[in-house]
């Protein structure tokens, strides 16, 4: 009954990219325990960035080996007995994820000229307690974010490179759990941050439970959780094609299973009707984490979706395949429509970017629905273009802050006084940003134009490819819907650009300030405590002036803090990449073309 266990042959060299990233995560946990306070942060950042850079190199080396070998023996994309399957397409997705994670980590590592990063001194402290105050004064730092980033990145890399639905589930959790925690660690607006984490967690856990039940149903039908498998251990597709699935004939089982699995994947992608978490989580999470999450998770989710969908649609009976395709088309249309329409009425920059990312999920699904090789290429390019624009845009958001006005200096706009608070996320606060920080504004405008798909930016080439793929799959009408949706989307991107460049800034954002104050009062953030701490340091008069101080604190102006380097580098790289991919997309398109050569 129980078969003899034969250990699978493990090609360590081929697994190296995954092992380096996950290994860096484990080492990072040890660093947390053993490295002294003073150098811990520097150690963690160095470790994380070095590991990601090394992984990029390893992936490039592996790429040369696999693509160059032309299917020669000795170089196989099937590793660990088929559990890990690093096809050139998966390798390209992994490369994209790691590069984006590197850029995202740079933004995370930046403390800006305000000298604080985006994370709470200790995320476990209850907001507004003396313990939190104590931790802040002691200058504690939450450096666990770097190992968590590494684990999430490792999970994403595994997610796109497996042939085994169970391994896909494990990878899904490995990438999700660190993200849930990271969402809860914001330094400011901590209640919003915790709330975002709770919403993300509850909905995410629900989606992964649906996913794994889908896997159970597929296992019931086919007697295996491999998608393709090999001669010895045939996967779902091979068994269906040869008609020896144990419960052959009960197609309802496998169709229900696939639909549940798709729900799990579409949730991660943020597609309608599984999008509800996206705006809340993107708005509540620390902004650098939002950038990382928005870019990398989407790449991973699309990669896995394409893997499951393309394998199954090709393998299952044509009528089932056609039904699945209809599901994808309907979801694509709903996602594009909701993302663009609701996005157009947002007043918070992070929520606006969140709805924009929902709309992009829709455009990606348009490409996916084409179901041909052209779609795979379009998806790869789209992921790169969308990813760099997203990381860059959220990087810019981290630098636009609120600052308190020091009493007696109401003009405060040019002075260096006052305490830098959280991000100025209300759209009205972005008015006239172009005069304060022309370069930053230019970069942000570039990212928005790229997301809108204006020619000479990467986004244009990406959208052209995506809609082209739909047309190639005989879905020209879906491409037309996509074009219409992106026209509507242009409206809300251009609205922000006009606001930043041509609207004069209000001297003091009284309106937005009042609103923010109400919000702060409701959320009891660390902002006030921090500001109060600073002002009490300036005039140690004590309780007598407390109320007075409070009213002064509430007056804030918008300021742009300087980057300490990493975030500026990340934004610059993203901006250059957006332009270069828009003007000379050739080389990357060629790489993407090579990636899809050997898709099974």
């Amino acid at each position: 009954m129980i078969p003899d266990f034969t250990a699978p042959l493990i090609d360590w060299a081929a697994l190296a990219p995954l092992l380096v990233v996950l290994g860096a995560g484990v080492v990072g946990v040890l660093v947390e325990a053993f490295v002294p306070d003073a150098v811990r942060r520097a150690t963690q950042i160095t470790l994380a960035l070095a590991a990601l850079a090394a992984t990029v190199v390893l992936i490039v080396l592996r790429w040369g080996l696999i693509v160059g070998s032309d299917g020669a023996p000795g170089v196989s994309d099937v590793l660990v007995g088929g559990t890990v399957m690093v096809t050139p397409f998966a390798l390209a997705l992994q490369g994209t994820i790691v590069v984006l994670a590197f850029l995202g980590a740079l933004v995370v590592a930046d403390r800006t000229s305000s000298g604080q990063d985006a994370f709470a001194p200790t995320a476990a402290a209850v907001p507004g307690t003396s313990y939190e105050d104590l931790a802040r004064r002691a200058g504690l730092q939450q450096t666990e974010v770097y190992p968590l980033l590494m684990f999430a990145t490792g999970g994403m890399m595994l997610f796109v490179a497996t042939d085994d639905l169970l391994m896909m589930f494990v990878a899904l959790e490995v990438l999700s759990l660190p993200l849930y925690v990271l969402c809860a660690t914001a330094r400011r607006r901590r209640l919003l941050s915790q709330e975002a984490a709770a919403k993300y967690f509850l909905l995410g856990a629900f989606a992964s439970a649906l996913f794994i039940f889908g896997v159970a149903l597929i296992y019931g039908f086919a007697g295996t959780v491999r998608l393709i498998g090999d001669e010895d251990k045939p996967g779902v597709i091979r068994r269906v094609l040869s008609g020896d699935a144990p419960l052959d004939g009960m197609t309802v089982l496998v169709v229900a299973g696939i639909l549940l699995v798709l729900v799990g994947l579409l949730f991660k992608l943020g597609a309608v009707p599984f999008h509800a978490w996206t705006p809340d989580v993107y708005a509540g999470a620390p902004t650098p984490i939002t950038g990382f999450m928005a870019a990398c998770t989407k790449v991973a989710a699309v990669g896995a979706l394409v893997k499951v969908l393309y394998t199954l649609v090709v393998g299952l009976p044509p009528e089932v395949g056609e039904q699945l395709r209809t599901v994808v088309i309907v979801v694509a249309i709903l996602t594009m429509a909701l993302g663009t329409v609701v996005g157009a009425v947002q007043t918070d920059i992070k929520r606006l970017l969140a709805y924009s990312s929902i709309a992009h999920a829709g455009f990606l699904l348009v490409a996916v629905a084409g179901i041909n090789l052209e779609s795979l290429r379009a998806v790869l390019f789209y992921m790169v273009a969308y990813g760099v624009a997203t990381v860059g845009a959220f990087g810019v958001v981290t630098l636009v802050r609120e600052r308190t006005v020091v009493p007696g200096r109401a003009d405060g706009a040019d002075g260096e006084d006052g305490v830098v608070l959280g991000e100025a996320t209300h759209l009205s606060q972005w008015a006239g940003l172009g005069r304060r920080a022309p370069w930053l504004t230019a970069a942000f405008a570039l990212f928005l134009l790229s997301m809108a798909g204006i020619p000479l930016t990467a986004g244009f080439v990406a959208k052209f490819g995506a809609f082209g793929a739909a047309v190639a799959g005989d879905l020209w009408w879906l491409a037309v819907v996509g074009v219409l949706a992106s026209v509507v989307a242009v409206f809300f991107y251009v609205r922000v650009i006009v606001l930043m460049m041509f609207t004069p800034p209000a001297e003091e954002q009284l309106l937005a300030g009042a609103e923010a104050r109400a919000q702060e009062a409701a959320t009891g953030t660390g902002d006030e405590a921090e500001a109060a701490e600073a002002s009490s340091g300036a005039e140690p008069a004590g309780g007598g002036v407390a109320t007075e101080t409070r009213t002064e604190v509430a007056r804030t102006v918008v300021t742009v803090v300087g980057s300490r380097g990493p975030a500026a580098v990340a934004i610059a790289v993203c901006a250059v990449a957006t332009l270069v991919l828009g003007v000379f997309p050739g080389p990357v398109l060629e790489l993407a073309g090579e990636a899809i050569k050997f898709v099974p």
């Binding site: 009954m1 129980i2 995320a123 476990a124 209850v126 907001p127 169970l166 589930f169 494990v170 959790e173 759990l177 849930y180 925690v181 809860a184 209640l191 919003l192 915790q194 709330e195 975002a196 984490a197 709770a198 919403k199 967690f201 509850l202 856990a205 629900f206 992964s208 439970a209 649906l210 794994i212 039940f213 896997v215 159970a216 149903l217 296992y219 019931g220 007697g223 295996t224 959780v225 144990p246 419960l247 705006p279 809340d280 708005a283 509540g284 947002q346 007043t347 918070d348 929520r351 919000q519 409701a522 959320t523």
Partner: protein, 99 residues
């Protein structure tokens, strides 16, 4: 007893769990709904393993258990943090993010 009964039971448990998640208001109860769904999945896995006569399904059930345990660690940490701040675990009170 007929083996398909176990599969049906798994489906019923899963449906109860899903309903709990969608209808209940306490975050802890919602989370228990998710756990019920995962355990229903385990039952489905071992049932199908019995049907097919191979051990893969049983091994899968172990993986699901481990993942569920990891999920509990993170999930309870988040829920408890919120509870300590607000003295409430109701998902209706968690409504600062809107729009």
């Amino acid at each position: 007893m007929e083996i398909t009964n176990y599969a049906v039971l798994a489906c019923i448990l899963f449906a109860i769990g899903a309903t709990t998640v969608l209808l209940r208001r306490n975050a802890i109860v919602v989370f228990m709904g998710v756990e019920l769904m995962l355990n229903a999945t385990n039952l489905a896995f071992v049932t199908f393993a019995r049907v097919h006569g191979d051990v893969t399904g049983q091994v899968l059930a172990f993986f699901v258990m481990v993942v569920a345990a990891a999920e509990v660690v993170v999930g309870l940490a988040i829920i408890v943090t919120i509870f300590r701040t607000r003295r409430s675990a109701s998902v209706d009170d968690v409504n600062l993010l809107k729009g």
